[in-house]
């Protein structure tokens, strides 16, 4: 048995050994993140040792022994503890030992002198490890997932819905599945098309593990780029009206702005003290509005990233945000079950709209905006006049996401129990509804 294993190892190892030198960002950083972060990260730094940046990983913790030393296995405390046969000190403590091939990566990296190929020794490892290739979506869903993101294609003929490690594409006319778009983060929280319709941005991630925005070509499903990787999910993203920039809102509390053309990170705004749920652009692209679990909504200068105003009127997490069409006010919505309208100049509340449940994002659609909420319906408002146009009822569960296609006059809502409803915006009649979970058979009762 042992002999056979060694044989197997011998067969495999040369492939690795013959390869190029160990890359920190490609080979080492993922090993550290996957195995050590829980106890040696920003949240918990056992033994005073952290591995969330290169600089910290090689430095000593409370012991004076450095985590890693060039060309010195014994002196590299992290490796020594990983390889230790004494379970009282072997890392990960109380866990299974590191697979030998992962330990070998660390050994080789030490032997090669701890070469660093990341952008900045102080940068979070999570921000520059290679974008993962995500596992395939389930062939058939055993249970449906909450519909946290959906969006119509620019021509209105397709409805893109967030799935499990995928985006599913449905025909909004008959509720039939058209295709499935793979290699997406575990859950999607926002799906956006660029103004020219050429790019599909999906804000996604696995709770507590990874967040990212993936840009795809919508027709082929080819991935163009991954932006804004961090250690928790990305809740929202928004293309600037001109289409040249993409703003993201993430659970790490940061708002980031990227250049769409090359993916360059132009600004990181860390003004919020908790998750940022939503981000919206002003129609001229000069300002950004954000909504956060820190119970505030904020407006920033989109060029400089400077904070312009903070609105604290919700006293509850704020989950949706939108500029008033005239640009001097903001609508924000949250767990206080209200949409507030307030002035950017002085954060004074102008008015509010009450709802029968928690509110989520406030999707804009031409002259309208929509509300998705735990009151189990979608409501449509004229954004300028703040006037309710219609309610779209039918769901038996909370509506978490909504979208509208103006030309085809369709409104869609996604529910907690995994259904998507499509309504006719002219009369509020239900066009179709579907379980956005391929292969899922709803219980018959």
């Amino acid at each position: 048995m042992t002999a056979r294993l060694s044989l197997l190892a011998l067969l495999l190892l040369p492939v690795l050994a013959a390869a190029e030198p160990v890359s920190f960002k490609r080979d080492v950083a993922p090993v550290l993140l996957n195995n050590c972060l829980a106890c040696h990260g920003p949240k918990k730094a056992e033994g005073g040792y952290r591995i969330d940046t290169f600089e910290r990983a090689v430095a000593p913790g409370d012991s004076t022994q450095p985590g890693f030393l060039p060309k010195d296995h014994e002196g590299s405390e992290a490796l020594r503890r990983i390889l230790s046969t004494d379970t009282a000190e072997r890392m990960p403590l109380d866990g299974d030992p590191l697979p030998p091939e992962q330990a070998d990566v660390l050994k080789r990296w030490i032997d090669e002198g701890l070469a660093f190929d990341g952008p900045d020794p102080k940068a979070a490892l999570a921000s520059y490890i290679p974008a993962p290739t995500h596992p395939a979506a389930p062939e058939a869903y055993r249970v449906p997932l909450p519909i946290t993101a959906l969006e119509f294609s620019p021509d209105g003929s397709q409805l893109f819905v967030g799935g499990y490690h995928e985006v599913t594409v449905w025909n909004p006319a008959d509720g039939k599945l058209i295709r499935r778009l793979a290699n997406v983060g575990q859950r999607s929280y926002a799906i956006r098309f660029s103004p020219d319709g050429q790019l599909l941005a999906v804000a996604c991630g696995a709770p507590g593990r990874l967040g990212e925005v993936r840009l795809f070509k919508p027709e082929t499903g080819e991935m163009v780029r991954v932006l804004g990787m961090s250690s928790d999910v990305v809740f929202d993203c928004a293309f600037s009206p001109q289409g040249d920039r993409l703003a993201t809102a993430a659970a790490d509390g940061a708002v980031r702005i990227f250049a769409v053309a090359d993916g360059a990170e132009q600004a990181v705004i860390t003004s919020h003290s908790d998750w940022v749920f939503a981000v919206a652009w002003k129609s001229d692209g000069s300002q950004l509005a954000t909504a956060s679990r820190d119970k505030t909504a904020k407006v920033f200068d989109a060029k400089t990233g400077d904070l312009l105003i903070t609105y604290s009127g919700h006293n509850q997490p704020v989950r949706g945000v939108l500029f008033h069409p005239e640009g001097a006010e903001v609508y924000s919505a949250g767990s206080d079950n209200k949409v507030h309208r307030w002035k950017i100049a002085d954060a004074a509340k102008s008015s509010e709209i009450a709802f029968g449940g928690e509110l989520y994002k406030l999707p804009a659609a031409g002259e309208f905006f929509l509300t998705a909420s735990a009151e189990k319906k979608v409501r449509q408002f004229k954004a300028k006049e703040q006037e309710q146009v219609r309610e779209y009822a039918g769901p038996k569960d909370w509506v978490l996401s909504a979208a509208m296609h103006s030309a085809t006059k369709r409104i869609a809502g996604g529910t907690f129990d995994g259904q998507v409803f499509v309504w006719n915006a002219d009369d509020g009649a239900l066009v179709t509804s579907l379980h956005a979970a391929p292969g899922y058979a709803p219980p018959t009762n």
Binding site: A88, Y141, V143, L145, T148
Partner: protein, 842 residues
Amino acid sequence: MKHRQIQKPLRSRETTLSLIRVRSVFHPWLLFLASLAVVTSARGDEPGLEPIDVGQPTRLEVFPPAVKLAGPRSQMHLVVTGHYADGSVQDLTRVAQFATSSAAVATVELGVALPHQDGGAEIVVAAGGQEAKLPVEASSFGTPRPISFEWETLAALSKQSCNSGACHGSPSGKGGFRLSLRAFDAAFDALTLIREDLGRRTNPLDPDESLLLAKPMMKLPHGGGLKLKKSDAAYAVLRQWIAEGCQADPDGAVRCVKIEVYPPSGRVLKRPAHTQQLCVLGHFSDGSVRDVTDLAYCTSSDNQVADVTPDGLVIGHDRGEAAIIVKYMEHVESCFLTFVKDIPGFVWNDPPTANYVDEHVHAKLRQLQYVPSGLCSDEEFLRRVHLDVVGQLPTIEATQAFLADASADKRSRLIAELLERPEHAKFWALKWGDLLRLTSTQIGGSGVYKYHRWLERAFETNMPYDQFAAELISASGSTLDNPAANFYRTATDTLDSVESVSQVFLGARLQCAKCHNHPFERWTQDNYYGMAAFFNRVQRKKSPRADELLVYMADSGEVTQPRTGKQMKPWLPGKGEIDPPAGADRRDPFVAWLTAKDNALVAKVEANRLWSQVLGRGIVDPPDDFRDSNPPSNAALLDALAKDFAEHGFDRKHLLRVILNSRTYQADFRANDLNKDDAKYFSHYQPRLLSAEQLLDAICATTDLPEAFAGLPAGTKATQLPAPDLAKHEFLKIFGQPERQTVCACERAGDSNLGMAIQFFNGPLIYGKLRDANNRFRKLLAAGKPNEEIITELYLAAVCRKPADKEMQASLAHIAAKGDQVVALEDIAWAILNTNEFLFQH
């Protein structure tokens, strides 16, 4: 066989190894495994279990006597008890051999019966040459049963303490994740776990990726550290609940209505027997009974004596008693166990007894193998009983007379006499003044005098305790005409009334239940508001007369439980809801229940309070904290005291007389080798620092310089002050005089602190008394008394005895060396005041 994944999870490795080790005693061919276990114990993994000496049981008893396994995930912990010829018992579960007549139907793995298909079979249990058989019946094995949200998922979170007050059960949660404290609010928890933040915490398609599992298992950063292991029963429950799609319970789902813990309280285990497997059964609303041992949360009332593993194995560490509190959902039961062992050198010396108090104390001491100390000296008794009964030191004359008295009954005569002294009523009015929060700020200047006088009269006339309680709780009218009505002045509203009545008269700290079910006790939020329904109609109206408040009852008004919105009927502990007649004062049925002769709790609370006042420690301690998890250290004694108290018409002086006459009260404070570890069972007297008021009075008595309190009649002693805020006194404050903001006995701080030391080192009060021209030793000096006489008087005044030769010689030597006689005497007096003998009641 998919359902099998939730079957009995792996028992902890420790238990398994120790089991092997124990079994190896009987199976020599397993010796190599035993050596493995030794290796393990050398690494410190072994929990220190003694091997079980099976001996020769006369019979085996197995609980439950018949096993019903309904459904594929059912199981049953079996508890095997050996009965022995000498009447003793021990838990043999760890060593018993289990077999079933049909392994196809059911098997027993590590003491847990598991079903495999529908049918009947017989379980055969063998140990120590004895055998017991019990039927097992498996049914509905092929019927899948989804995980219950309430009594499995939430119970699992409670088991792992995820929802404890220190973690996600805190009012603001932790890390943005908040659960209701110990799962008292299932609807709230369902929202949080299933829905909050877009269903972020669970992942039904890949359950192990769920934050709810990955975080406590430390696969992802978790501020609380490692709280869940794959081997925990809770893991299997949570994982399957997630995999089944995170469903809340449907309306009308089966609920747990009560739990039952085996063994019942009272078992005595003698080393080497020191472990006890528990079996916790849940009784459900559909009549079914399920083994919930794995998900019940068990804690010990005294971890020094025993603790309990997550598998429900109680492990005794030391002699003593422990209540194992078992909580499952909102249900709480306890199992009281006594652990004894042979103490080297212990011989029961059969000390005499004065009354039933000593009999009960001695029985407990003998069982736990402590030898009581002998009687204290007359000098010690005299000082002790004075301080306890009247709060004062005896005068020098009283001391000399008592010491000179040669009669055999002089102690009991002194007790009887002191109980009739007016200072007794005043001193006990001070104690009750604390509990009833007598302050002039709350009651008004004249009001507080009247209320205090009412209390004093109650003790002077020896008002029966039931009447005393009734007069306070039923009080109405003007607080000036009926000072007892001030009860509803210090208790400013309905909730304050509930909390005050329950803490003072029921010994129950109920505050927790205001906002949520008590995390560890029986009290639920419904109970709290049910009790409130007795008091919510009490109205309070100010009158034009100064310091007067009018207390009266409204005709209507109901209490709404804030969480459920339900209107609450008046609810009595142990009785349930009642329907008082319309128009009647709702407090009447409460008082009738409270003061009923058969209400053992109320008698116990007061008997225990009286005991704690004179013995320095309650049988239940703290004395106003009666709860399952704080059991009495001598239940038989407390029962006997309460019974005597009730039988004697709740006569407090009678009960005090009984206690004070016991040898237990009169025991020496000096411990012997065979009781020095005891601080709970009254084997010797526990010295304690004099209370602030006693101490000030004692200093005044020793120096013969009374303290003047502004605005109070001359001669008022500190122990006789109606309220602390009438005459604020720095010294009293430093020594722990309570401000009387709460009804908690804990407000009177018993701990010593630096401020106290500084007061005695060079504080203004002591300094002033020592320097005063009219103090005891200066007056004696002025009268031309010899040094020996002055020194003797100082000792008699301060510590009720003459100085020993050594003390006298040292004192005289100091005077000679110092040269200045008065300064030297000052030093001596200062030194005496600084001795433990003076500062402590002993």
